[in-house]
């Protein structure tokens, strides 16, 4: 496994595990997930394609697998799925905690 992939898996592990926690009911919101993560992937992945092509940044060869799509390693594309998921998880968890504390 590439080093970058390990970073993504570690980032995803706890949010993904906790998202099955019943109070969040994450699994019921599939269409909203698709919309939010899909739009983020398109817009910010698009920025990334442009930035990589213009040489704003590059990826260390030994840290990613050789696969490229539009100049981006698979790991960099997955970044725009994993990180938005972690953000939505964090946001919904904070909303849940706020509701709980207000009731108490």
């Amino acid at each position: 496994m590439s080093e970058y992939m390990a970073v993504l898996l570690i980032s995803l592990s706890l949010p993904l595990l906790l998202s099955f926690w019943p109070p969040l009911k994450f699994y019921r919101r599939f269409s909203a997930f698709t919309a939010a993560i899909g739009a983020t992937l398109l817009v910010f992945g698009g920025w990334d394609v442009l930035a990589a092509a213009r040489g704003h940044w590059s990826f260390r060869q030994e840290a990613v697998r050789p696969f490229r799509f539009l100049g981006l390693p698979l790991e960099e594309i997955l970044f725009f799925v994993v990180i938005p998921f972690c953000c939505l998880f964090t946001w919904e968890t904070l909303k849940y905690l706020e509701r709980k504390f207000r009731k108490a």
């Binding site: 970073v7 909203a32 817009v43 930035a51 940044w57 260390r60 946001w91």
Partner: protein
């Protein structure tokens, strides 16, 4: 101004505008700032790792050259606009 700097400023400035247009009310929501603080912490870990290990290598000709530790300043604007954008679409998709 360097290209990455300019793009990062434009995208970050677009978020409050988008928040108003879509009436998602994030900028006026106290919880959004708690969210940003939590994300900021995890961003320091992930982005810090990616940049200090040179997994992603930045071209000095394309950004300001200012870094917080190993993280280019522009990455904070990139991060803010990305998570802000994601939450706006998410909130809009919930409230339909």
């Amino acid at each position: 101004m360097r290209e990455y700097t300019l793009l990062a400023i434009i995208f970050a400035a677009a978020i409050p505008v988008m928040d108003r247009i879509f009436r998602t009310g994030l900028m006026k929501n106290r919880l959004f700032y708690v969210f940003l603080a939590v994300i900021f912490f995890f961003k320091l870990l992930v982005n810090g790792y990616l940049t200090s290990r040179l997994i992603v290598i930045y071209n000095p000709a394309m950004f300001s050259g200012i870094r917080l530790g190993s993280i280019p300043l522009e990455d904070f604007l990139f991060g803010f606009s990305m998570v802000g954008f994601c939450l706006i679409v998410w909130e809009k998709a919930q409230n339909r």
